[in-house]
Structure formats: structure tokens, C-alpha cells
């Protein structure tokens, strides 16, 4: 499995750092473009990563956003230390949000994030422990999609 890794990178995410929020996902997008994935695949991975990154900035104390690319898939891991999500099923529903007015003023917190990750990924797994943190594992299938592979 390890031999199949084409590319991997990871970023430290600081909760509440609105200035840098989204920086990691932009770098993920740039890396996937350089790896010659088609625009549609890059876009889906970018949106899923960005939503996961924004969730960590908006709600967690700190976290990591990591991406591993194999010939078959793009895998994105968002792992944070923070308040956690008491009811994941409820949080997955469109429009459900615990965002503050400050978050909404930035154009986020509409309660679309988790469902949008699901929409843009082929597999999504989320586990959360209240008071400890949340882990989101995203898989975007990319079987032979790279134009130079």
C-alpha cells in the first residue's frame, strides 16, 4: 500500500485563524492540478477539503488536514481537537448549523459544509467525540483519471 502513494502532504490548521483559512485547501488544489487530475476531480477534492478545513477553523481548537494520493484515489483526512459534534446525523443535515453571527458574516456557517463534503466525495466517514474532536475521512475515486498516468 505504501508503495502506491504518489503524493502526500499535510497541514497544521489553527482554530480561529480566519486570515489563513482555506490556504491549505488552495495548496491541495494546486498540487492536484500539478498531478494532472482532471478539473472536475480537482474541484470535488478541493471543495471537500475546503469545507473540512473551514469546519476546523470555525469550530475546533486546532487540527490537521492531510492528503494522500494513490493511483486509484485521493484521500483527505481532517482530524481536529475541539468541541466535537454531539449528533453527527443532525449535523449532516442541510441547513443545520451552530455558527455564530461572526462566522456567518464571513460567508460561512450556512449548515451546508458536511453535506457538501458528502456530495463531492465518493466515500465519507465521520467520527466525533464530544469534548475531544472530530475526524473526517474523505475519498475521491480517481481510477486512471490522471492525464499522464
Amino acid at each position: 500500500m505504501k508503495d502506491n502513494i504518489v503524493f502526500s502532504q499535510g497541514f497544521e490548521i489553527q482554530g480561529g485563524d480566519f486570515v489563513r483559512a482555506g490556504e491549505a485547501s488552495c495548496q491541495i488544489v494546486e498540487a492536484l492540478r500539478e498531478l494532472a487530475f482532471p478539473p472536475g476531480v480537482v474541484r470535488r477534492a478541493g471543495i471537500a477539503a475546503y469545507e473540512a478545513e473551514m469546519n476546523m477553523v470555525l469550530y475546533a481548537e486546532r487540527g490537521t488536514l492531510a492528503m494522500t494520493v494513490t493511483p486509484d484515489a485521493i484521500m483527505i483526512f481532517a482530524d481536529d481537537h475541539g468541541q466535537g459534534i454531539p449528533d453527527v446525523e443532525l449535523a449532516m443535515q442541510n441547513g443545520y448549523s451552530t455558527a455564530t453571527p461572526e462566522i456567518r458574516e464571513m460567508g460561512f456557517g450556512a449548515g451546508m459544509g458536511l453535506s457538501n463534503i458528502k456530495k463531492n466525495s465518493d466515500k465519507m466517514q465521520i467520527t466525533s467525540t464530544v469534548g475531544k474532536g472530530t475526524k473526517v475521512h474523505i475519498v475521491i475515486e480517481a481510477n486512471g483519471a490522471r492525464s499522464n498516468s
Binding site: 488552495c26 472536475g40 474541484r43 475546503y50 460567508g107
Partner: protein
């Protein structure tokens, strides 16, 4: 008549609209955009102050019309593969937003027009909403 509103003109008369035409149409100031970026062809636009909605609904290649001025607008444009951003209501974006747009090659226009006026002027020169994409 509602259904006719959704009909895309199919007589081939739709003019080719480039970003530079949009600059002229709304009297925009070019905050970020060189000659080549302003040559980008635009067919559809979306007006939105909610980046969550842009990420959930916007199609790639659209022009975003927004009243937000923070860096997340540019990052949203990069990630959702948008053609450019118009900032309305005469708002001056933060320096960091302009620098980021320059670095990421995201055209950034500013206009004193409000959002509805901007949309209406763009519609006059043939820009359409994203719901037309399905036709």
C-alpha cells in the same frame, strides 16, 4: 410565462462577452487582472454573499458577484474554479485579498453599483444565471 424565462436563446445570437466587456458595462475598476485575464470569456454569473452556497451550488467557470471582501472569496474562487469576482457596493477589499487574487490569478473587479444593478447590467449584455446551464 415563467417557463419562457428559463429558455436559453438558441438562435446563435448570444454575443461573446469577455471580462473586459464587463469592466466597460458596469464601469468597474480592475483591482486584479492583466490583459490576458481580462480576455476570459464569461457566459454565466452568480450573485451571492454566502460562500457556503457558492461551494454547494456554483458551477465551474462562472463569474461571482459578491459584497464580501475577505480572502475566503478568492480562495472560494480558486477552489470552485470560478472565472473571476466582482465586488459590489464600492467596497474596498483588504490588501491581503488583492495580493492573494494576484498570486492565484483570480481577476478581481470592483464596482460602486449595488448587487441587483450589477446583475441587471450583466444580463443586458447577455450574461445568464447558472440555472441556464442545464439547457
Amino acid at each position: 410565462m415563467r417557463s419562457s424565462l428559463r429558455m436559453r436563446p438558441n438562435d446563435g445570437s448570444r454575443p461573446l462577452v469577455r471580462l473586459e466587456d464587463i469592466v466597460d458595462a458596469i464601469g468597474a475598476s480592475v483591482l486584479v487582472g492583466d490583459k490576458s485575464l481580462l480576455q476570459r470569456e464569461i457566459t454565466t454569473a452568480s450573485a451571492c454573499d454566502l460562500m457556503s452556497d457558492v461551494l454547494a451550488f456554483a458551477k465551474s467557470g462562472i463569474l461571482l458577484i459578491t459584497g464580501l471582501t475577505n480572502s475566503q472569496v478568492v480562495r472560494t474562487a480558486v477552489i470552485a474554479d470560478l472565472s473571476g469576482v466582482i465586488i459590489v457596493r464600492g467596497k474596498q477589499p483588504e490588501t491581503a485579498t488583492i495580493e492573494l487574487a494576484r498570486k492565484m490569478h483570480v481577476p478581481l473587479l470592483g464596482t460602486s453599483m449595488h448587487m441587483f444593478e450589477t446583475c441587471s447590467e450583466l444580463a443586458k449584455i447577455g450574461i445568464m444565471g447558472t440555472c441556464y446551464d442545464t439547457f
